[in-house]
């Protein structure tokens, strides 16, 4: 089963990945997990007046794609969805865990939201586990060990997206 090949792919890959996972992100962990609201800060937007185009390279159906640094699940890109949309007939989970991944195309770190798509059973395609910065459930903001089909009509997990929310604080 490719499920277990993945485990080994993953191990070798992980040993190669050493991007630090620290930074602003985690300072808010306790607050977040405590359920406290946190202030709404401005979200980075691409400067559309620049002639140059944003760079986002890589195969979004490959576990090695940069946005998947903290993922653990089936890639919606292989399930009838895309890297940031859900497959037909599923429902996107409104709450999820966050990763900070570096885009090799522009050297920036981005905050990635791994919203699960729910309401159909496991897609079963392109299982990908990278776990960089993953923590046990006591760090709800950084854990991929739980089924994030929370706040959805159905609790059934289908696949995971990797959606750019914005540029993370640089350190």
């Amino acid at each position: 089963m490719n499920f277990f090949d993945r485990f080994f792919e993953r191990r070798s890959r992980d040993l190669a990945h050493r991007t630090s996972r620290r930074g602003m992100l985690t300072r808010f962990g306790a607050l977040l997990v405590g359920g406290a609201a946190v202030p709404l800060l401005p979200v980075a937007r691409a400067q559309s007046d620049q002639p140059a185009q944003p760079v986002d390279e890589g195969d979004s159906t490959s576990c090695d794609y940069w946005r998947y640094c903290a993922i653990d699940g089936f890639l919606c890109s292989c399930c009838g969805g895309t890297v940031n949309t859900c497959p037909p007939g599923t429902e996107m989970s409104p709450i999820t865990w966050i990763g900070t991944c570096e885009n090799p195309g522009d050297g920036r770190k981005y905050v990635i939201s791994y919203n699960d798509c729910c309401g159909k059973s496991s897609c079963g395609a392109c299982l990908c586990m990278r776990d960089e910065g993953d923590r046990p459930p006591y760090r709800a903001d950084k854990t991929n060990d739980v089924n994030w089909c929370l706040g959805t009509k159905s609790a059934t997990y289908h696949c995971s997206t990797a959606i750019v929310l914005g540029v993370a604080f640089d350190r």
Binding site: L41, P42, A46, T61, P88, G105, G107, R108, A125, A168
Partner: protein, 391 residues
């Protein structure tokens, strides 16, 4: 979707207005949340509807929509929906709907049981309706092309029952209500027959044909002549229908043409699939989905040699293609590996899809040249044993 404020609240606190080197490209824009993909209401001719009844996890059967000509899994996998406890499927491209019989228990594998017809929208792969079926009756077995069939010009669905008492439930697809339950004593399946009816196959070696009135009540029921002996000369209950003639293969390798255009099934003269040396080698059909047809007027059979008592379900190494007009084989395709089920796509450039039981992968062939195209696997399949060319 207001609920998505949550994730912004969480995430936005970690986000900064960007500060970056002059020479760097602009940053990626934040992306919207909550977007769900859709499909066309009518599917391209190179797509298949693949039913995986998941024999090791039957309450979690899966129906995959696959583009078998695409080169990557991401492009091949168009979507899926679930079908619980070995359902049976039918598609209506005219209505943009896919129909699936399902069975649920209130506690998963236990508890109170309900039987349903679920109506799926082909474009959104969402359930848009359901019809409660009589409890504990609908045919539940190895998935079958003739257990749930469109009749009456696609206005009605005929659902085969087996409890083991046999009958058919007639559903009106406009009102999504049951019109009637038609008794077919001892005879099973629902092969569309005549203007507004169906035939069922009987243990005494003939058909039991029913024509229905406009309200779904029985207008006429008649048995065909006996044409096989279910002990000594059994036929398969799986057929390919071309221009109203259904071609039923026998265990021994004969083709029985059955005219289903009239009110009563009319059985024609049988002819052999194998002749000469091949006949001596006992070539006969074997597998799960052993037969299908294309839109060029040809039908396909999964074949094995050395046929004997008990070998009719194990699959085979070849697919034979026949032209019913000339009653002759027009093609012989040696499969790359063993086949357990076959399906053929619609249109002028048909594709042959073969389920390989070793890996449960799907192998794609050009149905005209017999040339192997590619293998499709790794889509989470367990036992994808009944594919159908999408419409």
């Amino acid at each position: 979707m207001p609920q998505f404020r949550t994730v912004f609240l969480i995430a936005s606190s970690f986000i900064t207005s960007q500060v970056c080197a002059q020479d760097a490209p602009p940053a990626l824009a934040p992306e919207p949340l909550g977007i769900i993909e859709t499909l066309p209401a009518q599917y391209p001719e190179n797509w298949f509807i693949v039913h995986d009844a998941s024999f090791f996890h039957m309450s979690d059967g899966k129906v995959y929509i696959l583009d078998v000509t695409a080169k990557t899994l991401g492009e091949q996998f168009k979507g899926m929906f679930n079908s619980s406890l070995i359902g049976n499927l039918a598609q209506s491209p005219a209505r943009g709907e896919i129909y699936s019989t399902e069975t649920f228990h209130t506690r998963g594998q236990r508890g109170d049981r309900i039987d349903l017809l679920t109506i799926w929208d082909s474009a959104t792969l969402s359930p848009v309706g359901e019809v409660m079926l009589p409890k504990g009756k609908r045919f539940m077995g190895i998935p079958q092309r003739n257990a749930v069939t469109l009749i009456n010009d696609g206005k009605w669905l005929a659902i085969a029952n087996f409890s083991p008492a046999t009958s058919a439930t007639i559903v009106d697809l406009d009102s999504r209500e049951i019109l009637s339950e038609v008794g077919t004593p001892g005879c099973v399946m629902t092969y569309p027959t005549g203007p507004r009816g169906f035939s069922a196959l009987c243990p005494d070696g003939r058909f039991f044909s029913t024509q229905l009135a406009e309200d779904g009540s029985v207008a006429q029921q008649e048995r065909s002549e006996v044409f096989f002996d279910s002990d000594t000369t059994p036929i398969f209950d799986r057929a390919a229908t071309i221009d109203g003639i259904a071609y039923f293969p026998s265990f021994a390798g004969l083709i029985h043409p059955v005219d289903l255009r009239g009110a009563v099934a009319s059985v024609g003269e049988a002819w052999p699939m194998a002749t000469g040396e091949e006949a001596a080698e006992n070539w006969a059909p074997s597998g799960v989905a052993i037969i299908d047809k294309d839109d060029l007027g040809r039908f396909y059979l999964l074949m094995h040699s050395g046929a004997a008592d008990g070998t009719h379900g194990g699959g085979g190494p070849e697919v034979w293609v026949f032209d019913p007009a000339t009653k002759s084989r027009v093609q012989r395709i040696a499969l790359q590996s063993w086949g357990l089920s076959i399906a053929v796509s619609r249109g002028s450039e048909p594709l042959l899809l073969v389920t390989n039981p070793e890996a449960m992968s799907l192998e794609v062939y050009d149905a005209r040249s017999g040339e192997f195209q590619q293998t499709i696997t790794g889509f989470g399949q367990e036992t994808p044993l009944l594919a159908t060319g999408a419409q």
